[in-house]
């Protein structure tokens, strides 16, 4: 039997997610709504002798969608065919703004879904100087009204017990009269089975995804015939409802005095200050990145050490042969490359979700909007761009709450330019190779170059946004309206939950691709098309009969690689990368790291026959790899393969090129379009190629 479906509906910042976590006791998972890309948070709770499925709908002020998140809400409640169509909606309100929640409640009821009303954060009622007459409110809404406080768990049990309540028929208070009545009557003929309000919603929205094309066309005709627009109807409804609800609840919710905003106002005087606001923001940003790197370093070392030991142990316990090689050098090395990033990503998201939970993130939007607008971005783009320093995959997902489709698209297109954690190992190796370890104005030159690369990422993101802004067409005017919620101490359940979601998303999502690629690479590198690979030993001994034992085995290894599938691929693309100053071995690195940048270092290690598990944190191993790479000669130019020119060229290539399959996959998912995914990949790799080419040709 199908579980009873309960949907939580409410404005942003009413503590809906805290409530969701309390109800489900974290028995939940994040999936996707069928066909589209928005995360669906779903949980389970056993009570009253059955199991309920609880859905946490995205926060919204109204059922008329202006962003992707809000479209989900409407589709879930209005489309009876949808899998997430609820048996009962729980409308979550907070004491401060009951009016807005009542409007949302009425909209849901008039669409035809049963609903109960919950006032969360009830402990703040007195502090906010409010009083509520619950009996009057229940009579007015025609449903059960409950109170909860998700932070301490008050009222949660009562709420779960109320999941079987099905309120009686709802009398619509909203009547489309006068000027819009005829249009609505025409529209009703199209939807004989829908409620009046549902039909009104169809009429007032330009794009309802689940009705037929024919119905959509007829709706456009009706709107044109009566000379009305959807926007006009939505505004009219907002005004009608607001005026009515304000009148109706005047003696239900009594405002004694306004106490609560003053604390927030005091904090805002500093945090939104025209000067100090920015100083504090950049200071926080600086501390954030410092923490991400310093806190994660010891954990990464620990993982590295133990993982290497684990790989050795596995290698020792398996019989030697290709299977053992595949497991240790292919699969385990691949997993190691993913796990190593987990601390950084977890810490980044811990700090970011703290900023969101406290309410500071909307202040950042307030401060930054003016500086991002000229580039065709939006204050809300700050969050994706900042998260992009960790990993572009969750960062692109964070662009969802940008209402304007054009600004959302541009934000997603430029976010991968930000220097993500996966670029760091490459930068570290390449900088150590080609940048002298001198000081410049008292700062280490190598550190300065690293900083420069981070700045380059930001500049590239902004400049390309500026260009894209000129090219991409927009049907909608850009606008920005958002609430600055009052400051709160973070709910740690929400924070830990969020960190887990994002980190495990990276671990399992990106991890799959990196792992698959590691295996493919291993196969390509360990098999060859002809007997030069299979009988490498014979060829090498014939060519160099007087080599010592050690040199011989090294020579055989690189001869094998040269004649493996991977080697042939590398040599195949050599003509393309030669103008950039790379040889076929670097070509292999580029091809293999197309799956994920971090693969580059591992591949280089294979190419220079050191075994896959080179540990870049381990000084001795790093020196071995570095000295191998340093002594490498590019056989086309006769110069060292990693000189200043080719090194800078390679750094630039990695700074710009779309070398990440996970990002490509997430772009396809989020934009729903191969076109924009392809444009982004071509744009990034194109810029990377041209820049690397120009710089190399100028510097060589």
């Amino acid at each position: 039997m199908k579980n009873t479906v309960i949907a939580l509906l409410g404005n942003p910042n009413v503590g809906k997610t805290s409530l969701f976590n309390r109800i489900t006791k974290l028995h939940q998972h994040v999936g996707n709504y069928p066909g589209i890309t928005v995360e669906k948070r779903e949980g389970y709770v056993k009570a009253n002798g059955k199991t309920y499925t609880v859905i946490d709908l995205p926060g919204t002020y109204t059922l008329f969608p202006t962003s992707l998140d809000e479209e989900i809400v409407f589709n879930s409640l209005a489309n009876k065919e949808s899998l997430s169509f609820p048996d009962l909606v729980v409308v979550v309100a907070e004491p401060n703004n009951i009016k807005r929640s009542v409007i949302l409640y009425q909209q849901a009821r008039e669409l035809g879904v049963p609903a109960i009303f919950v006032i969360n954060m009830i402990d703040e009622l007195a502090a906010k100087g409010l009083e509520i007459d619950y009996q009057k409110l229940e009579a007015y809404l025609g449903t059960k009204v409950l109170t909860t406080d998700a932070r301490n768990g008050k009222g949660i049990q009562e709420l779960v017990q109320a999941f079987d309540i099905r309120p009686s028929h709802h009398l619509s208070r909203f009547i489309a009269d006068g000027q819009y009545k005829e249009a609505l009557d025409d529209a009703k003929k199209l939807f004989p089975l829908s409620t009046e309000y549902q039909t009104w919603q169809f009429l007032a929205q330009e794009h309802v995804s689940f009705i037929s094309l024919e119905q959509r066309r007829r709706l456009v005709e009706i709107r044109n015939h009566h000379n009305i627009s959807g926007n006009q109807l939505q505004k009219w409804e907002a005004m009608q409802r607001n005026a009515q609800v304000e009148r109706d609840i005047a003696n239900v919710v009594l405002v004694k005095e306004n106490l609560h905003v003053s604390k927030t106002n005091h904090i805002d005087k500093i945090l939104l200050h025209p000067v100090w606001g920015y100083v504090i923001f950049f200071l926080l940003l600086f501390i954030l990145f410092q923490l991400v790197f310093t806190l994660s370093a010891p954990i990464m070392d620990w993982i590295d050490e133990h993982f290497a030991a684990f790989v050795d142990l596995t290698a020792a316990s398996l019989p030697e042969g290709p299977i053992s090689d595949l497991i240790t050098q292919g699969i385990l090395a691949g997993i190691g490359g993913i796990v190593i990033f987990v601390p950084q990503i977890a810490i980044l998201f811990l700090l970011v979700s703290l900023m969101e939970e406290t309410g500071y993130m909307s202040r950042v939007v307030f401060l930054m909007d003016r500086w991002l607008r000229p580039y065709g971005l939006n204050g809300k783009s700050v969050i994706p761009l900042m998260s992009g320093v960790g990993c572009a995959v969750p960062a692109i997902m964070a662009a969802r709450n940008i209402e304007n489709t054009k600004e959302r698209l541009i934000t997603m297109l430029v976010t991968p330019f930000m220097t993500c954690a996966a670029r760091l190992p490459i930068y570290v190796v390449l900088i150590a190779l080609v940048i002298p370890n001198n000081t410049f104005l008292g700062f280490g030159l190598q550190g300065l170059v690293l900083n420069l690369l981070y700045i380059l990422g930001v500049v590239a993101a902004l400049l390309s946004a500026w260009v894209l802004n000129k090219i991409v067409k927009s049907n909608h005017k850009s606008f920005l309206i958002f609430e600055l919620p009052s400051y709160k101490t973070p709910d740690w359940r929400n924070v830990t939950n969020n960190v887990w979601d994002k980190t495990s998303g990276f671990l399992f999502g990106a991890g799959k691709i990196i792992l698959a690629m590691a295996i493919v690479l291993w196969v390509l590198g360990n098999f060859g098309p002809n007997d030069r690979f299979n009988e490498a030993e014979r060829y090498v001994t014939e060519a160099n009969p007087d080599l010592s034992e050690a040199d011989l085995s090294e020579e055989i290894a690189s001869f094998k690689l040269e004649h493996s599938f991977l080697g042939y691929i590398g040599m195949g693309i050599e003509p393309i990368v030669a103008p950039l100053g790379y040889d076929w071995k670097m070509g292999i690195g580029l091809v293999s790291s197309f799956a994920a940048r971090e693969v580059f270092v591992g591949t280089m290690a294979t190419v220079y026959s050191l075994g896959e598990d080179v540990d870049i944190e381990d000084d001795e191993q790093k020196q071995t790899l570095l000295s191998k790479m340093k002594s490498e000669i590019n056989r086309n130019t006769g110069q060292p393969a990693y000189n200043l020119a080719s090194g800078i060229s390679l750094l630039l290539f990695y700074a710009f090129a779309m070398q990440c399959m996970s990002t490509i996959a997430i772009m396809k998912r989020e934009t729903g379009s191969w076109k924009w995914t392809a444009i982004q990949t071509c744009m990034m790799t194109g810029i990377a190629y041209v820049l690397a080419l120009v710089v190399y040709q100028l510097m060589k």
């Binding site: 907002a238 003016r370 606008f479």
Partner: protein, 78 residues
């Protein structure tokens, strides 16, 4: 005497009542978030160099931020 201004010229600390919104320029979301004719607002914050404006809506007791360019389409009176 009541005078009509656009909201963007108000200074921090000014209190005014919204008299009219230019409905063709502003999306419905402004109405839905409580910026409606008759609603009293106080300008609480202004980001520098013509950045966003933070408005305290007295009726619904919430703080809402909009861009200056949008504030120019909202008419207020004192």
């Amino acid at each position: 005497m009541q005078k009509s201004f656009t909201l963007d010229i108000l200074k921090v600390g000014d209190v005014a009542k919204i008299s009219e919104l230019n409905a063709t320029e502003l999306p419905a979301k402004f109405f839905e978030m409580g910026l409606l004719p008759g609603c009293t607002i106080e300008v609480r914050h202004k980001a520098p160099f013509n950045g966003p404006i933070g408005l305290h809506l007295l009726g619904s007791n919430s703080l809402v931020a909009i861009r200056k360019s949008e504030a120019a389409h909202i008419f207020v009176e004192r």
